[in-house]
């Protein structure tokens, strides 16, 4: 870079040079690392879920939602069939292991390759279609995959029973907690899962920040203009769909380990719908939006469903007891309400956008602010 850089360039460099600027630049990797470290102890807290293995489930859904957001948040494509790629990962791993007797790693990779190739082919067929037709075709393909798995062709998928007890040799389960046993070491499955999540999360982050990812954003912002300035929107959409499918299938493989096999419910429309709900609830505009959405959705489900009595002011000092069992059992209603409100107020912002807004205002107050109108 030359000395007489343009004003914009130098503004950028000054900002990058400060500690805050550097933190800002690497906020996603830092955030992902903090998330992996904090999530398990957090959900394990006695006053929260008191069940740390639930962090495994949350992490996999976070990855699934983040893979979905490559489509919705970054490319502006709405898919109702993302579950098919998740399912191909899950079933691929489970079929290879339980039916074909392959090593888990080989089965997992095979499942992911199948899912990725399928995503590429489906993408090629539907990428030129308009929004509604695109969404309907993803739904149709996903239903076809669900149908095929339910039919149990060649006794591979196990129909509605799914595949039970497909566990890699290096996983040991003990009283609901899974351990990885390899090369003489034995550690909680969460640590391996967390490491895989971290690598996958960083890969998705790199994907969307790369020049390729910025072209996806151009398509999201204005597809007509993108074509007019020379962006081959169809091919970018196909590859967006392909990468999205690849990461979804990785989440699927992790699902297979979490659930010790494959269940048909993985392939249903409801699973695709969950990805959409989590992403929009959390905020499709942000990298952490779908991740936050997955957390809030699953945490609320687990927490509120068991939450019966509100004791005020503290459990140790029970002055008031309020029976909430009849109310919070309808947690989905409240979450749905939250969803509707967040869509009406700011469709792409979600809870993460709200949270960021608050943080920025707080930062403004602490740092003396004054630069906000």
């Amino acid at each position: 870079m030359s000395e007489d850089a343009s004003p914009v360039e130098s503004i950028g460099r000054v900002r990058d040079a400060t500690l805050g600027g550097r933190l800002r630049k690497w906020r996603v990797p830092i955030g992902l690392l903090v998330l992996v470290v904090v999530l398990r102890p957090l959900v394990g807290q006695p006053f929260l879920l008191d069940y740390s293995p639930f962090a495994n489930t949350i992490l996999v859904w976070m990855l699934f939602a983040a893979s979905f957001n490559v489509l919705l948040g970054y490319t502006g494509l709405l898919s109702f069939g993302h579950a098919m790629f998740l399912g191909m990962g899950t079933y691929g791993a489970a079929i290879g292991l339980a039916r074909l007797g392959l090593p888990f790693t080989v089965s997992a990779v095979a499942g992911m390759v199948v899912a990725t190739v399928a995503a590429y082919l489906v993408g090629r067929i539907i990428a030129r279609k308009g929004e509604i037709y695109f969404a309907m075709l993803t739904l149709a393909f996903a239903e076809a995959v669900h149908f095929a798995a339910n039919q149990n062709y060649g006794d591979l998928t196990g129909g509605s029973t799914g595949i039970v007890g497909a566990v890699p040799a290096w996983i040991e389960a003990e009283r609901g907690v899974k351990y990885v046993v390899a090369a003489g070491a034995r550690f909680d499955w969460y640590y391996l899962l967390g490491a895989i999540f971290l690598v996958a999360g960083l890969a998705i982050w790199q994907l969307v920040r790369s020049p390729f990812g910025r072209s996806l954003v151009a398509i999201r912002e204005n597809e007509d203009l993108a074509r007019a300035v020379g962006i081959d929107t169809r091919r970018y959409k196909v590859w967006s769909f392909t990468f999205s499918g690849l990461f979804a299938s990785l989440a699927g493989v992790l699902f297979a380990i979490n659930n010790q096999g494959a269940t048909l419910s993985t392939l249903t429309v409801a699973t695709s719908g969950d990805a959409i709900l989590m992403t929009i609830l959390g905020g499709a505009n942000y990298f952490f939006g779908p991740i936050a959405g997955a957390f809030v959705w699953l945490f609320s489900e687990e927490f509120l469903i068991n939450f019966e009595t509100l004791v005020l002011p503290l459990a140790q000092v029970p002055l008031v007891r309020i029976d909430l069992a009849g109310v919070l059992a309808y947690w989905q209603f409240f979450l749905g309400l939250l969803f509707v409100i967040s869509v009406l107020v700011a469709p792409r912002e979600g809870l993460w956008g709200l949270f960021r807004g608050l943080l920025e205002r707080l930062y403004g107050l602490v740092a003396g602010g004054g630069d906000r109108e």
Partner: protein, 266 residues
């Protein structure tokens, strides 16, 4: 781009860079563009005028490939591009701006232009997965912003700009494709007299500095008559006349069909 190619092929005269042959676009029973033969010469400013609904924008859409023509052909620098996908044309040097503000709405001014510079560099598609996209091509993008007078607002969101600034950003986006032929669709629409004058001057500067051939749709007759080398008058999709401004002013058919009410003004 290769000058040799432009001087050969398809029997084009050496100085014709863009040509249409019997170009026709029908929507149902309506013929919006009707057998248009047009030849735009290297370096000229060729204005397209005509009443509302004359087919000016549809002509642009068929020339740039946003719409497939019903019949006829389009030739660019000696090669037929009638069936060339729209997204390939900017990479050959044919670019357009839009009548309404078409921007990457939620992105910053700088990112709007940077993305286009990136596209011009990478081609219509590239699996470029490494590095921080937003850190590339910034200086080139700033240069385009300087040309249109927006270099002081790189971080503003595109939609927060004034109407005039949005039109200027639209031109910067078009320029960032590095065109040799530029199709401008009403660049001054919605602007006041001062802004209109500034924009006209800017277009004149750009032509000189970047050696551009310009096709211009414009309603402001002062601009059209003072800036154009040649003018094509469209009426109901057909070419009524193509000539230099003086001759167009005197043309009886043009007078009666289009300029009628403006005789005194002219």
């Amino acid at each position: 781009m290769s000058d040799a190619r432009a001087t050969q092929g398809a029997g084009d005269a050496a100085d014709v860079v863009l040509r249409t042959e019997g170009l026709t676009k029908q929507f149902g029973g309506v013929t919006a563009v009707d057998e248009v033969d047009l030849a735009v010469e290297r370096g000229e400013l060729h204005a397209i005028i005509g009443p509302n609904g004359a087919g000016k924008t549809t002509l642009f859409n068929t020339v740039t490939g946003a719409m497939a023509p019903t019949a006829g052909s389009v030739w660019f620098r000696g090669e037929e591009i009638t069936d060339l996908p729209q997204e390939e044309r900017p990479h050959r040097g044919l670019a357009r701006s839009f009548q309404s503000n078409q921007l990457f709405a939620d992105l910053t001014v700088l990112e709007n232009v940077r993305l286009v510079v990136q596209t011009a560099e990478s081609g219509a598609f590239g699996l470029d997965l490494l590095g921080d996209g937003r850190a590339t091509h910034r200086e080139a993008a700033v240069e385009y912003l300087e040309r249109v007078g927006l270099a002081d607002k790189p971080a503003a969101k595109a939609t927060t700009l004034s109407h005039g600034d949005q039109r200027r950003l639209g031109i910067a986006i078009t320029l960032a494709t590095d065109p040799s032929v530029l199709l401008l669709d009403e660049p001054t629409s919605g602007m006041g007299p001062t802004e209109t004058r500034e924009t006209a001057d800017m277009i004149a500067d750009l032509r000189r500095d970047l050696d551009l051939t310009v096709m211009l749709i414009e309603h402001d007759m002062d601009i059209v008559l003072s800036m154009s080398d040649r003018i094509t008058v469209l009426d109901q999709g057909s070419v009524l006349a193509t000539d230099d401004p003086e001759a167009i002013r005197e043309n009886d058919a043009v007078q009666s069909a289009y300029l009628g009410g403006m005789r005194e003004e002219l």
